[in-house]
């Protein structure tokens, strides 16, 4: 699953980029997850 590092020099993002769409899925997840929290907090406000 984890490929050998192929790019010219290793870097943080390069490390994450070592399998099928690993880097981009990671970034998407990090962006979307906090929206659940925003949703929950808005829900609480609305219910009040």
């Amino acid at each position: 699953m984890i490929d050998q590092f192929t790019d010219v020099v290793p870097s943080f993002f390069g490390m994450l980029n070592q399998g099928p769409l690993t880097l981009t899925i990671f970034l998407h997840t990090v962006i979307v997850l906090p929206m659940f929290w925003i949703y929950a907090s808005e829900k609480k406000k609305l219910n009040k």
């Binding site: 192929t6 010219v8 870097s11 943080f12 993002f13 929206m35 925003i38 808005e42």
Partner: protein, 223 residues
Amino acid sequence: MAKENLSVWTSIPFWRRSAAWVTGFASILLIWLTFDTMGQISMGTEADLAKGITKRVPAPTVINYHIDYKMSEKRGHEVPVIGKKQPFFGKEWSEKEAAALLHLGKLTSQAKNCMNCHTLLGNGAYYAPDLTKAWLDPAWQKSGAMQAMTGKNTVEEAMAEFLQHPSQYPTHARMMPNLDITAEEAKGLVAFLKHMSSIDTNGFPRNFSKTVDQFKNGGTNAH
């Protein structure tokens, strides 16, 4: 009615906060990525070249070396290969001279508006051939049409001659116009093109000007 207003999905504050979060965070990521990339694409040094350290964008003194573009097993595509020393316009250029020449070349490429006919690294206009790997193009090599036509016997001299009098050496009905390029500027432009061909473009253009046999052998067009 009251119940409807309870849905978070139709609440403006929810979308506003989400928009702010996503925009802000994506921007931060972009800035972080930009710093990382800038480190990787800033020019290398002569010391890197001498020690054989691979840089995505080598030092201007790369013009003193032989450049090739070969299939890399590890990378899975073609990469520039910097080889042995090779004279450029008959001499070896010091770090200072090479940097000045590249500066002149890059400046001239903008002053003459190359990008509004050609593509550089694939970006620009589509009226004339891509210049990314022009330095390595078979047309300019020993047995190529351009050396024969210009009567020169190195790539750099053939290119410089062509650039100064392009419409004297037409290959097609569509010609390059005369842009009042001086001899000095032409040298600079050739240095700029040679430098560009040494940039690691992640395999673009793919299968550069090769026959199937050459490609299978991991071969190349450069001399």
